[in-house]
């Protein structure tokens, strides 16, 4: 399946309880894993924010604050970081609506409704797969090191 011509592949999987204390653990772990791509500080911050948004969504919306398991898969293919954040919670009935800026199902919690907007702003690709009653997977991709050393990665 994988066709990597010029680069390595590396993968990791993480499973943890959907407790808010684990939000920092999750984003710092992914940040640490991606350091092998030699990212800029900005790229690390972007990924940390996106991971934090997806994990927070799983805790608040997916599991509605019940403790269950959240899984993170992270893969490196060449210069691309690929992430999958999965919960087996309630799922999202209308993904398109959920991804609209400022949309929130929980206004009483003063959620800003910016979670998916932040993921989309900071990652190159965000795909949400969800089925009510089964759970949600957020797949994200980001090419690391875009602005730098383009001449070594682009064949002319």
């Amino acid at each position: 399946m994988r066709e990597i011509i010029n680069g390595m592949t590396n993968e990791m999987k993480l499973e943890f309880d959907s407790r808010s204390a684990n939000e920092a653990f999750a984003r710092v772990t992914v940040a640490s894993f991606m350091t092998q791509l030699n990212p800029t500080l900005e790229e690390v911050s972007d990924v940390k924010t996106a991971v934090s948004e997806a994990v927070t969504n799983a805790i608040i919306h997916g599991y509605e604050n019940h403790v269950n398991k959240i899984q993170i898969f992270a893969g490196i293919e060449g210069k691309t970081l690929r992430l999958e954040i999965t919960d087996r919670g309630v799922g999202i009935p209308d993904v398109k609506q959920a991804m609209e800026p400022l949309f929130t199902t929980k206004p009483e919690l003063e959620r800003s409704g910016m979670g998916f907007s932040f993921m989309e702003a900071f990652m190159d690709e965000v795909i949400v797969e969800s089925e009510p009653g089964k759970g949600t997977t957020v797949r994200m991709k980001k090419v690391i090191g875009k602005g730098r050393e383009l001449w070594t990665t682009q064949s002319l």
Binding site: A21, R27, T49, S52, T56, E110, S112, M114
Partner: protein
């Protein structure tokens, strides 16, 4: 975390990570102080803050809603470049003043 009320001004010294985990306590404590006193200005001090996500934006928006109908204002102080970017992207800068030192 530290909260300081001076006259009609509440300063919240934010933690290193302003995420969902930390924001719940800040909301509770800030609202308690706002409801108790005559707080008109809320200053979010980001000196120690390295990380802020949309939950942090929710904290700011929520406090703004509480005080804006009494003519209150929210301010950000000591925000680093990353935090400023998040504040701008989220639109929080439309309701919040950013205190810039020179």
């Amino acid at each position: 975390m530290k909260y300081e009320v001076q006259e009609n001004c509440l300063t919240i010294y934010l933690p290193g990570d302003l995420d969902h985990h930390n924001s719940e306590e800040i909301k509770r404590e800030a609202d308690r102080l706002i409801e108790r006193g005559h707080v008109r200005y809320v200053i979010f001090d980001f000196s120690e803050t390295e990380f802020c996500d949309s939950s942090g934006i929710g904290v700011i928006m929520g406090r703004y809603k509480k005080i804006c109908m009494f003519g209150g204002e929210v301010w950000a102080a000591h925000a680093n470049e990353r935090i400023k970017k998040i504040l701008k992207m989220s639109g929080a800068t439309k309701i919040m003043q950013i205190y810039e030192e020179d």
